[in-house]
Symmetry: C2
Subunit: 321 residues, 2 copies
Amino acid sequence: MRGRDWRLHPEAMTLPNRDSVSAAHRLIEADIRRTPVMTLPGLGALKLEHTQLSGSFKARGAFHRLRAAGAGAAGVIAASGGNHGAAVAAAAQSLGIAAEIFVPAISAPAKQALIRSFGARLVVGGAAYDEAREAAERRAAETGALMVHAYDQAEVISGQGTVAREWEEQSPELTHLLVAVGGGGLIGGFAAWHAESGPALVAVEPEGCPTLAHALQAGRPVPAPVGGVAADSLGARQVGELMFPLAARLHAAGRLQSILVPDEAIRDAQCRLWADARLVVEPGGGVALAALLSGRWTPSAGARPGILLCGGNTDPGSVAA
Amino acid sequence: MRGRDWRLHPEAMTLPNRDSVSAAHRLIEADIRRTPVMTLPGLGALKLEHTQLSGSFKARGAFHRLRAAGAGAAGVIAASGGNHGAAVAAAAQSLGIAAEIFVPAISAPAKQALIRSFGARLVVGGAAYDEAREAAERRAAETGALMVHAYDQAEVISGQGTVAREWEEQSPELTHLLVAVGGGGLIGGFAAWHAESGPALVAVEPEGCPTLAHALQAGRPVPAPVGGVAADSLGARQVGELMFPLAARLHAAGRLQSILVPDEAIRDAQCRLWADARLVVEPGGGVALAALLSGRWTPSAGARPGILLCGGNTDPGSVAA
């Protein structure tokens, strides 16, 4: 039993677009942080989204889903042992709504503690993510709680798109935006906001989790391997059904590139950010920069790249060289 | 033998002021980073100066001293086992000038490595800071290298003042600026820039290093104890001769308050910044926030405080709760 099909939700029938991102911005503007941008010579403009509430961009999608769907007395539910679970817990706490977060037994104790720190009820069960998700879906069917999907939900994608909107306001000069991809909610939000014009998107994935690369090759979301140092935040089995048409369209138009980076480059990016700028990001948060540092993506003459640091939920001691 | 008296340097005869800070800004604008500001609800506007080149605001004063004094083939010298040494090394490397940094044997191996990472020649000698400084002064007299003082030099203070100038541009709405004090070069720069009008200054020191508090009480710079968790960056024996009249004048006018904070509050501030915003600061970098968190300084109704995070040169693992 795989539970409900998210694609059949009424709110998922319209693809996220510039209007839905603008609407999301208005709904969550007071909830989320406007994260700063700083320029590092030789690298580009870094957007410090890892300083967002809950330690990652995921708070944007979580707040938007909760506000747009009018989460109420029945509370909210999510399945995630990582950034999404923390974001839903943080958003629910901020809005005074009860949250239950289902995590598999393998999820890291530190992430479990983070989720609990936001006042959520943590339910540990099942060996892997799929079992936790199924348990969450069963529970939601019983209680009527609002389910928040980690990436394949229109309100979530439009919420993540508010990063792109905010960054455009802060750095209108950028020609290329480097963004990490897991399940695709974040790059989907970027593709929604920049659908018609704007900077080119560089979608960066670890070689160990090539969900978008495989999907673009296959012409549809397909299962991909899950592994490597960034699997805890980027290790979705396949990209979402909702983000795929948005990304595929930009890819066909030559406005979205798919890039893979090795784990060593991800670690290098984490260490470089600490050494050069005293910034701490998790492996998934270093993936975008890794594309530049490894030479897997090279800026053309005149390019002005922006690099999204999307998450910082890691042991801070892990970034010292 | 205490070497040269810095106060007799021609460039030190005029107290730093708004004009000298503006001039410093023009000289070093291309060298230093414009560090970002972010707002944390319930706390205020944080200026992330710990992301500055070399990991602290000290790069500003170092670049300005080197540029203004026209450091050349004879190179530069500084005595410091910490942030100042790293800043002078970084500035010298960036300008293609040889640097010798004298550090006492007790200085932390990690700080020594940081100084070396910027290509400086590290000279380890003497049991304490004063001996390293005397050795540096003897060496400078032999080689003709330009000496960069850690705080009591007009060009250094005017350089540090560029943080205040930059922040005013970024956050003109702030009513109070909370700034950590060690030897007083940084708060001296703020006092120079905001001498006539602008936000009130809250000068925050650890209880273990109360140099400005003691000086204001005595009416002149006097020796103070050096101890506690932030001594490695704020542990000057007394505030500088140049900064004191600037600070004393604002203090007399009710526009500068002196606040002391306990070590526990400094540690709390470090942990809070990591937990809430994935920011890593060294103990000295958490001192300003500690004033607010500990209640030693309480914003009046309508106050809009700004908090300077001035340094991040620490073991990143030390900030986890």
